[in-house]
């Protein structure tokens, strides 16, 4: 950020618009079963909502919304959710990533649908955290 002075319009608009982008991103992730969308697209939009506040309000203020140190842990958590879903299925007797063996009630095909949802949540979490982390890492050399 080369401009030190705050522009109230940009700050306010980015603050107001960011939660709505996040809501729509969650819709894209969770409605991926029925319409175009899914983890990658929704995670990118979640990251875009965070980066909008990063760009609009400046680096210090935006730490209140999403801290710089949260990016990589969140990305790791997403990869672990994906891997863990497959691993739980493997521990309970199936092949790796065979969602039929997840410990959920319901018919086999419904359980596979739930497995897809967990996997999409993992992908979305990982993509969001890692995109924000890459942005923060690239700004790290900025003397400010």
């Amino acid at each position: 950020m080369t401009h030190k002075e705050d522009n109230p319009i940009i700050t306010l608009v980015s603050r107001v618009v960011s939660p709505f982008i996040m809501i729509f991103a969650l819709y894209v992730i969770f409605h991926g079963h029925y319409s175009p969308g899914g983890g990658f697209q929704g995670g990118t939009m979640l990251a875009a909502a965070v980066l909008l506040v990063r760009l609009g309000a400046g680096r210090e203020i935006s730490q209140l919304q999403f801290k710089k140190s949260w990016g990589m842990p969140l990305g790791s958590l997403g990869v672990l959710i994906y891997f863990g879903t497959g691993f739980v299925a493997m521990l309970l007797g199936g092949n790796f990533l065979n969602y039929e063996f997840l410990p959920l009630a319901g018919a086999a095909n419904a359980v596979r649908g739930w497995g897809i949802l967990f996997v999409e949540i993992g992908v979305g979490t990982a993509v969001m955290g890692i995109l924000v982390a890459i942005y923060d890492d690239l700004l790290e050399g900025d003397p400010l």
Partner: protein, 102 residues
């Protein structure tokens, strides 16, 4: 010369639009490309996916089923690629606190 550029552009765009009218409908199991069989004579994967995606995973979006269920390994690899990119940026660019000059 500029006129020729625009002419080539319009002709090529028209050609693409004309070609797109010959494409099969999405999810059409009877389209020739989905009727392809392997050299051993078994039906191709696309035909199976179109017929069974909804039944197998109780999910309407065929693309989601293929991405996350049938091709789960592939998506796990994609996610690992993204994670590796983020990890490399972290390791190369992040400043460590204790090495800051005091």
């Amino acid at each position: 010369m500029k006129f020729l550029n625009y002419l080539i552009l319009i002709v090529f765009g028209g050609l693409l639009i004309f070609a797109s009218t010959g494409l099969a409908n999405r999810g059409d199991a009877d389209a020739p490309m989905n009727k392809e069989t392997s050299p051993a004579g078994s039906p191709g994967a696309a035909y199976y996916y179109i017929q069974n995606a909804k039944k197998d995973a109780h999910t309407d979006n065929m693309v989601t089923v293929i991405l996350a269920d049938y091709r789960g390994y592939d998506t796990l690899g994609e996610e690992t690629v993204i994670y590796t990119a983020g990890l490399i940026c972290f390791l190369l660019l992040r400043r460590r606190e204790e090495e800051e000059p005091k």
